[in-house]
Subunit: 212 residues, 2 copies
DNA sequence: GTGCGATGTATCGGTCCGATACATCGTGGC
DNA sequence: GCCACGATGTATCGGACCGATACATCGCAC
């Protein structure tokens, strides 16, 4: 999961660890608190060993021209490689059952802008299926096994059931919208240079305040 | 977390691993899919090493009287010890910040029937605090950083924000109810024997269909 | 001038998951 | 009669991720 998220983020722009964590937290804030350095750094090393990312010199030209002024030391900037992009595409294409659990789905959804419509649809439907199953499980417990459980446990199940029903409706909406044709796939920034000084208006359509 | 859940469940009745997993899944179905044997068995061994649970012979008397009839073999039944109960009480009393994340809160909430009112209140308020913080974070992103993110990521944040607001309201209700005095604490079954043939009506008040 | 919060990199122990292996029991179809 | 299959049941292994911790620098406020 982390691997996927890192490759996805680095496709937008090269970053160092700290920055990566902040962006990750912003992008995934809805689904997980904040990823730990205890996972981040080892994963970065793993990705580097696999050749999917490389250490990029910290803007070496400018660093020599203006050495003292922005003399940040010790920062290690990572950028994605061609193999890394391939790997990312492959991870999207695979998108199996593990993609339907809470975290897996959230992370994949966060990168839907880089995912083709067919895969988006597949993931959304897989997720819906999974949530429907969870919903049925909760209904069963609330129906058949209710008298075996205490009031608090039941209340927890009710709240969970409510969340399931809500998410299914949300997914239905997204699926319907997806089928009706809207498809704001991002072309591709970064890798070649850029370094996020550019704030090119984040791609095309966007449709703010109109649920995608 | 697993440690806590196991000690809590074994307080209701002795169980073997498989049963434990099923009960755990039923009780925690709203918050986590199903716990893995890869965590369950090692944890059981850890708890046993610490002296908080013991292997109980599979109803040894009955097994010798009616040997062939219910000749289940290889089943290892665990029961909680006095130290284990103490440990459980201690884990409830500690109930620190780690109790306020999604899983931690869910598990503790599932055992609220065995938790004193003061601690229940403390946990509910801690959880509310945490969710409020997450909510503010999401509002910030949706407000200030919105134009940096694509439509899908924004939709994810909106959905997350909605879930936060909903949970805060839910917690408010629970807190108000808690303060107003309802307190269905479970007295204590199991440990002494019983083996779940008894279906003593699950404690007192219950108040079904009336949110606790 | 100095202390403190943000920035920044990194490791270690521990919890938990997913895949896998393997054995038994009861039941329904052939 | 038998046998396949799904439920019951115990168990391990590698890997992902977290939380605590350590340590160093930067910029600003007091």
């Amino acid at each position: 999961m982390l691997e996927f998220a890192i490759l996805g983020l680095l496709q937008e722009s090269p970053m160092h660890g700290y920055e990566l964590r902040k962006e990750l937290t912003a992008k995934l804030g809805a689904i997980r608190a904040a990823i730990s350095y205890g996972s981040l750094y080892p994963t970065l090393r793993r990705l580097q060993a696999a050749g999917w990312i490389t250490e990029a010199a910290e803007t070496p030209a400018t660093a020599e021209v203006v050495p003292a002024l922005t003399s940040r030391r010790g920062r290690v900037v990572y950028k994605i490689t061609a193999d890394g992009k391939e790997r990312f595409a492959q991870l999207i294409a695979q998108a199996g059952p593990e993609t339907y659990d809470d975290t897996g789905f959230g992370v994949h959804f966060a990168f839907f802008a880089r995912t083709d419509q067919a895969t988006r649809l597949r993931i959304l439907e897989g997720r819906r299926r999974k949530i429907e199953e969870r919903r049925e499980g909760l209904r069963d417990v609330l129906g058949r096994a209710a008298e075996r459980l205490d009031a608090y446990t039941l209340e927890l199940q009710r709240h969970g059931l409510d969340a399931c029903e809500r998410e299914v409706r949300w997914l239905e909406e997204l699926i319907a919208n997806e089928r009706s044709g809207r498809a704001p796939t991002v072309p591709d920034t970064g890798t070649a240079g850029g370094r996020r000084e550019d704030n090119s208006p984040p791609p095309p359509g966007e449709t703010r305040n109109e649920r995608p």
